[in-house]
Amino acid sequence: MTTQSSVEIGTEWGIVSARQAGRELSKGLGFSSVDQARITTAISELARNIYLYTKNGVIGLEVVNDGHRQGIIITARDQGPGIENLRDVMVDGYSTSGGLGAGLPGVKRLMDEFDIQSNPGEGTLITTTKWLR
């Protein structure tokens, strides 16, 4: 059985509600407080990217079970401008908005699995998973 929820990110408040949904879901699954913080921070980064760089997008949360363990999949989907050079955005310190440039590489380190697909002009889909230890 999978539990699914999605939160639209159109305003800064959307970031907060996506984060809250993630915290509740991860708490319910029994993630440790450190992992809860990692998951909510990752959601916060992804949601903020949607808010900053695209007009709107959706954060999806899903519970998965691969037979041995449970986990949480976070998807961030938008129809924004897309990312031209995927290699650049995964380098620490690269930012086009004057930020710290730690967002996406940071999310990759916070989570266990990370995948990014983006085509300029078509939007971006980021899928990232954290497994319950």
């Binding site: 913080a37 903020r48 710290l100 940071g106 916070l110």
Partner: protein
């Protein structure tokens, strides 16, 4: 304007109140919030009936005030507005049905238009007042939130504390910066402690705002100490790869205050008992 249909409804007021009452009773107003007591639901229904039929014979000003009170009541008890609008639509159907039986085709068409006008006006007023009242509530809460937002508290001479509780968004980050810089000048502070114990998530944006704030604090000649970093927050900051090494950090506010006292060349000493009894 719609006198003919008003007369008709007014003459048959008691019948319609009764009929409408029963349709209202079928509505399930408790579906969203089971916490509201039945008494309040009944009272609200009675008030609504009174309000709607009241528009037939009371003046404009009085009607507006009553709609406002009713909207406030709905918001206060978290009663959904949509059910009441649906009930007005049901009332229209009941009245139309009777009119059809009792009047000629020509009369019926005119009545129909008048009735729509009357009910639509009620719906408009209800929705307007409801959204105004909502907006007021949100504005009040925003003001309240702003007041709580970023207070700078002087604790010792030259030392101030800024406790942050809750989410830091762009607006709040701006207030933190202003409040810090204004406060440092006003209290002639040399050290400010920013306590983030109550901040649920420290992501790159929050960290970036803290780094910027601390740089600005240094520019006006003071120092910034970041305290209240919970263990899980420390780990996520490291995972994110955020460099906070240029900022002095302490685990607790207490340790931060000791450091701040050292930085301003003071310390807290315990008076020995003899001396304290003499004093």
């Amino acid at each position: 304007m719609h006198s003919s249909v008003v007369d008709f409804i007014y003459q048959n007021k008691d019948i319609y109140i009764k009929k409408w009452r029963s349709t209202l009773d079928e509505l399930d107003l408790n579906i969203y919030h089971s916490s509201i007591s039945n008494e309040i639901i009944e009272e609200t229904k009675a008030e609504f009936i009174d309000l709607v039929f009241g528009t037939l014979y009371t003046g404009e000003g009085e009607v507006a005030a009553r709609f406002r009170r009713f909207a406030d009541r709905l918001i206060y008890y978290h009663i959904p507005l949509s059910e009441f609008i649906r009930s007005l639509q049901l009332l229209r159907r009941v009245i139309m049905h009777d009119l059809e039986e009792q009047s000629t085709k020509e009369q019926y068409d005119r009545y129909n238009v008048d009735l729509e006008d009357w009910l639509d006006e009620n719906i408009n007023k209800l929705v307007d007042e409801f959204s105004n009242a909502r907006e007021n509530t949100v504005n009040l809460q925003n003001t309240a939130l702003k007041e709580l937002s970023a207070p700078l508290i002087p604790v010792f001479d030259k030392i101030c504390v800024m406790p942050l509780v809750g989410t830091v968004d762009t607006e709040r980050a701006k207030q933190i910066m202003e409040s810090l810089l204004d406060g440092i000048i006003q209290h002639r502070a040399q050290v400010v402690l920013i306590d983030i114990t109550g901040v649920p998530v420290v992501d790159t944006m929050v960290a970036h705002h803290i780094i910027k704030a601390s740089q600005a604090v240094q520019l006006v000649g003071a120092e910034c100490i970041l305290v209240g970093i919970r263990p899980e927050i420390a780990q996520t900051i490291v995972n994110l790869g955020i460099d906070l090494s240029k900022i002095i950090t302490k685990s607790t506010l207490q340790k931060g205050v000791y450091t701040a006292l050292q930085m301003t060349r003071r310390e807290i000493i315990t008076l020995d008992e003899q001396r304290s009894t003499e004093v």
